[in-house]
């Protein structure tokens, strides 16, 4: 079959598996892990969209994740809003942050964007701790209301969100806009010389990547029923990057699958407890050195091309 057909078959296959999964492997604990995997998938895919295509590394994706989670927490516990408002609100707040960080830095060549993203997440984390009366400090905000009555319901909501988000991001990636983003990643100067306002493209791509991350943060908050400063940590940012690398930089769907795989795998490592973080970092280093093109996307590319 042609590659396009194979891709559609793959997408359907993946969705089917994920729909059926919690019905086969039952239990609250497992559904929780699967849901977490899906949320990480949203985060990783949204990171990959901007950083994978344009090559401008964002080291602080946790900024959007944490901002989204805290937005959900504030709306829900302080302003007593209906939990469903969290999702669009979190996305908007994340986009706002992306503009504040992105507009001054993406127009500059050099490491400014990379440094600013890392710094922004770290500073927001610090502020969350400093203003602990408002934010709950180390423990964060507790008592967030769940979005849906059942964990299974939330799982399917997250699955639907992931599939929809990845589909949208892939559509953009395959469009002329995506082509220009990839041209920016290949050679930004030459892209400008081809008549494109590369700064605008980067800023917009950054904002487009921020929205799902914030939304995912809100989903997380309504899943764990709390939001704390750990969500703004460097570890979260690096985890997301690792997942994207494992999945295959620039593929978007690879990042989502990489995220799900890694989340499941690290749950198996539950026994190792604190060693998980070490393992993630080590995995990133290994992938960067030995498989910079990742594992998932190249594998699928090879498999889906077999029939051609």
């Amino acid at each position: 079959m042609s590659r396009a057909r194979a891709n559609i078959a793959g997408a359907i296959g993946f969705t089917t598996v994920m729909v059926v999964l919690p019905l086969i492997v039952r239990g609250r604990y497992f559904i929780g892990v699967f849901t977490l995997g899906l949320i990480y998938g949203i985060w990783a895919a949204s990171w990959d969209f901007m950083s994978g295509l344009t090559g401008r590394e964002n080291f602080g994706h946790a900024l959007f994740i944490g901002a989204g989670a805290y937005t959900a927490a504030f709306l829900n516990t302080v302003w007593m809003a209906n939990p469903w408002w969290s999702l669009p609100a979190a996305a908007c707040v994340a986009v706002a942050f992306s503009l504040v960080v992105g507009i001054p830095t993406l127009r500059l060549s050099g490491p400014y964007f990379a440094l600013a993203t890392l710094a922004a997440a770290a500073i927001l984390q610090r502020l969350a701790l400093i203003f602990w009366e408002r934010t709950g400090g180390e423990d964060g905000l507790q008592g967030i209301a769940p979005l849906l009555g059942s964990p299974l319901g939330l799982y399917y909501l997250c699955l639907f969100s992931l599939v929809a988000i990845v589909a949208i991001l892939l559509a953009i990636s395959a469009s002329p806009w995506g082509l220009i983003l990839r041209a920016i990643g290949a050679d930004e100067l030459a892209c400008r010389a081809s008549g494109h306002n590369t700064t605008l493209y980067k800023v917009v791509a950054f904002a487009i990547g921020a929205a799902p991350a914030g939304l995912g943060g809100a989903l997380y908050a309504h899943h764990q029923l709390q939001a704390g400063p750990q969500l703004l940590s460097v570890f979260v940012s690096v985890s997301v990057i690792t997942m994207a690398y494992v999945g295959g930089i620039g593929s978007v769907y690879g990042a989502a699958i990489g995220a799900i795989l890694l989340t499941f795998l690290t749950e198996l490592l539950r026994g190792a407890g604190e060693w998980r973080l070490l393992v993630y970092s080590a995995v990133l280093v290994l992938v960067v050195f030995f498989r910079p093109h990742g594992l998932v996307a190249p594998l699928w590319h090879a498999l889906s091309g077999v029939g051609e």
Partner: protein, 283 residues
């Protein structure tokens, strides 16, 4: 007023050590070392480890810690960074991963409680009517001595000239036969040593915990951006500016708002004059 002068000096000197190291590596080797904060933390923890477990005298422990961290920096450069150079993308990523590994290793090894590192000078000293801990004054003295030594090294020795040459024109330096890889390793070692020294000096009066390297590194970024990426002079000036600005805010407003000082400074710089105070204006 005197308090501000003195405490401002203390914090500025530490910032200067951190910023100069970071900007040196970027200016010479074009490397974004996101494990810079880890070297700071390792300096502190190394001293702690050697004074408690190995029961070494403080001066020896401190010096050893700095040297070991410097060696670690060189090893990291050689094993992880050099092979990736030229591929452009992954170097900062890898250093960030290293930073995480180090933080986790420290957490697993020492736990998350704050650790106590003894002071070099336990006594308080009266300066200008202000009671300052001897350690803090010691910090100022050592920091500026170290930076002066660095200046002498860079401007008066052969290796130093090699560093200067590389920072100005990499290709020309190669043509003249300067061993580029070795100079990069040297610069990384110096940078790590500076960061570790900062860690050693401040450990007695600042908190020692596994994540202690992150915020100082972010501060270093801010200072380096304000001063101009790659400009050592810029880093020192910006370190003084930001150090004093923070101390002023801490005294006049509240300590909570000090974080926002560097944030505001960076934002203003990026919007108005991205090259920083002493950076090279491009286009």
């Amino acid at each position: 007023m005197n308090e501000i002068l003195i405490y401002g000096a203390v914090i500025s000197s530490v910032y200067a050590l951190l910023a100069v190291g970071f900007t040196l590596v970027f200016g010479v080797a074009r490397t974004l070392n996101l494990a810079h904060g880890s070297f700071y933390a390792l300096g502190a923890y190394g001293t702690f480890l050697m004074t408690t477990s190995l029961r070494l005298p403080l001066t020896v422990a401190a010096t050893l810690a700095v040297l070991i961290v410097a060696a670690l920096g060189v090893v990291m450069e050689r094993v992880l960074i050099r092979p990736l150079r030229g591929t452009g993308l992954a170097v900062p990523m890898v250093t960030l991963a290293v930073a995480l590994v180090i933080e986790q290793a420290l957490f697993l090894g020492f736990g998350s409680e704050y650790r106590n590192v003894p002071s070099f000078i336990a006594a308080s000293v009266g300066v200008g009517g202000v009671d300052v801990s001897g350690q803090r004054l010691f910090t100022v003295a050592v920091s500026w001595s170290v930076l002066s030594c660095l200046w002498v090294f860079v401007h008066r020795t052969r290796q130093g000239s090699a560093i200067l040459a590389l920072s100005q024109d990499r290709e020309a330096a190669q043509y003249v036969g300067i061993p580029v890889d070795r100079v990069y390793a040297l610069v990384m070692g110096i940078s790590a040593a500076l960061a570790a020294t900062a860690g050693v000096l401040t450990a007695p009066f600042l908190t020692v915990q596994p994540g202690m390297g992150l915020m100082p590194m972010i501060k270093a970024f801010s200072i380096v951006i304000v001063g101009g990426l790659g400009s050592v002079r810029g880093s020192i000036v910006a370190a003084l500016l930001l150090g004093y600005a923070e101390t002023l805010i801490a005294y006049k407003v509240s300590t909570s708002w000090t974080e926002l000082v560097s944030l505001a400074a960076v934002f203003t710089t990026l919007v108005l004059r991205p090259a920083g105070l002493f950076g090279i204006r491009t286009r």
